[in-house]
């Protein structure tokens, strides 16, 4: 069995009896799911259903009340979310960009985990800069490379946050409403890029989306959360050629 075929069959992320809560309220209960490496997983549901909390649990930023979230690395070792954070790329709902720093610097921040502080104290390597510029070009941001983030539009900020996450070259990409501020063309382009990342680099993508057409077009797996009943989640597998 080839390494790629093996990696496709082994679950990349395993959720066992997952329970997500916010305050005293349970948002998701008893979720079991095996996600193969290189899957495009869409998380959908009405506002307040717990999509962001679900993603935060996956990222290890918020503890799940019970159950287990297990990531399997390429060396076939199992990791808890906190131990896997270095290999996750995060696109936050509120972006969390450094407003006074340039677009290029923000994107380069995605490479911080690859080098110790004394190597980045005086700047980033030429290779990192070249990679960041390629990403900016792919996302139509090259003209804003030197512009402070505070001076660009909401959609441009969103793409900057996506570039920062991709700069990490993550195994798992967690994106909370990554196309919320983008027009239809750019939203399509971004999700096409995410899809390409799943196929070309075997990254597993978790993406919170609201548009059912986009979910239908891009998702391999969709997890629908229910606002009223935490156990009424639904998992759909979309078979694609």
């Amino acid at each position: 069995m080839s390494a790629v075929a093996h990696s496709l069959e082994t679950p990349h992320v395993a959720l066992r009896d997952m329970r997500v809560h916010r305050g005293t309220r349970d948002l998701v209960r008893g979720l079991n799911l095996d996600i193969p490496r290189g899957s495009f997983v869409c998380i959908v549901g009405p506002s307040g259903a717990g999509k962001t909390s679900f993603l935060s649990c996956l990222a290890g930023l918020m503890p799940s009340r019970s159950g287990a979230i297990t990531y399997r690395c390429l060396q076939h070792c199992d990791h808890a979310p906190l131990g896997f954070q270095m290999r996750m790329g995060l696109v936050f709902q509120h972006l969390r960009l450094s407003q006074n720093a340039s677009v290029l610097t923000n994107v380069l921040c995605g490479a911080l985990g690859h080098a110790p502080w004394w190597k980045t104290l005086l700047g980033f390597s030429r290779a990192d800069k070249s990679r960041a510029r390629t990403l900016l070009k792919d996302f139509e941001l090259e003209a804003y490379a030197r512009v402070p983030v505070a001076k660009i539009s909401g959609g441009e900020k969103q793409r900057t946050a996506i570039c920062r996450a991709l700069m990490q070259e993550p195994e798992v990409l967690l994106a909370d409403e990554p196309v919320a501020s983008l027009d239809a063309r750019l939203a399509h382009a971004v999700l096409t890029r995410f899809r390409a990342e799943t196929k070309l680099h075997q990254r597993t993508v978790f993406c919170v989306l609201h548009d059912p057409d986009l979910v239908h077009e891009f998702a391999d797996i969709s997890v629908r959360l229910d606002k009223l009943c935490p156990e009424a989640w639904r998992v759909d597998h979309h078979h694609r050629p």
């Binding site: 450094s98 006074n100 995605g110 911080l112 690859h114 104290l121 402070p148 505070a150």
Partner: protein
């Protein structure tokens, strides 16, 4: 049925007047004793208590006549000692610049330790205590202590001003660090950045304009302070102020004040222009 009752009870604004606190029927009356009136009474008592301090020497002096005589000796300024005054002004500027640089370099790590969103609580408490202690001692006293250690020379002035400035810059810088949205640094830490990288790319870009602005303000302040600490022998133009005051040469004293005023005005103007360039986005 319960829904209709609820709707009925909440849709009668005419019959239920809006009251500042409590529900309908709660009788709100302003109390005759409130914080403002208590503070006002306490302040008036303090004024009456403080009046004896203005008693003067007790002798029957012609204050207005004395004032006019003093003005005659004060104006016009006499710049006859312009050469040594110029040297002293340059020395004052040098002391202020060096003190500000040293204080800034010391204040940044101290401010990091005093910032709630960066350092652990015990370290924050210890750092803040140190900063409060430094601030509680006036600059002139720090200069006096520095003269006792370094002798009567400009170095004492630099040491005294640096210590005093650390108290203020440490406080200002920690406020600047704490005003930063910690989500950015957390996002970077979550993506693998270490503590220093999180600070360098998550906090520093936001705090930098405030830090430059406050450092410039401190430089202006230190020039004013450096002018006076010469009174206790810590170098700078203050020694001339002291000399002219002792000799009663008020016209020359006035010339020194004019020099200080000129340098402060120039620095204030330049500082304002630079601060606008560094204004946070």
């Amino acid at each position: 049925m319960s829904r209709s009752v609820a709707r009925g009870s909440s849709s009668s604004p005419v019959s239920e007047p809006i009251t500042p606190s409590g529900g309908p029927g709660h009788d709100y009356r302003p109390t005759p004793i409130n914080t403002f009136s208590v503070t006002l009474v306490l302040f008036l008592i303090a004024v009456v208590f403080s009046l004896p301090a203005a008693r003067g020497s007790g002798r029957d002096l012609d204050y207005f006549g004395n004032f006019l005589a003093f003005l005659e000796r004060f104006f016009p300024p006499n710049f006859v000692d312009w050469r040594p005054l110029g040297d002293a002004l340059i020395e004052t500027f040098q002391m202020a610049v060096l003190a500000t640089i040293v204080a800034t370099l010391i204040s940044i790590p101290v401010a990091i330790a005093a910032s709630n969103n960066i350092a652990p609580a015990p370290v924050v408490r210890a750092a803040r205590f140190i900063l409060v202690c430094i601030r509680s001692i006036p600059g002139l006293i720090w200069a006096l202590l520095a003269v006792a250690v370094c002798g009567a020379n400009p170095l004492a002035g630099i040491v005294g001003l640096s210590l005093y400035s650390v108290g203020y810059l440490g406080k200002f810088f920690s406020d600047a660090f704490e005003s930063v949205d910690k989500g950015v640094a957390e996002a970077l830490r979550a993506s693998g950045a270490d503590f220093i990288q999180g600070f360098q790319f998550g906090i520093w870009p936001h705090a930098k304009p405030f830090i430059w602005s406050q450092t410039l303000w401190m430089l202006e302040y230190n020039i004013r302070s450096a002018s006076i600490i010469g009174y206790v022998g810590a170098g700078g133009i203050g020694i001339w102020l002291h000399t002219y005051q002792e000799l009663g040469q008020w016209d020359r004293f006035c010339a020194v004040l004019c020099c200080i005023l000129a340098i402060v005005l120039v620095l204030d103007y330049v500082g304002e222009r630079i601060r606008k360039q560094f204004a946070p986005i």
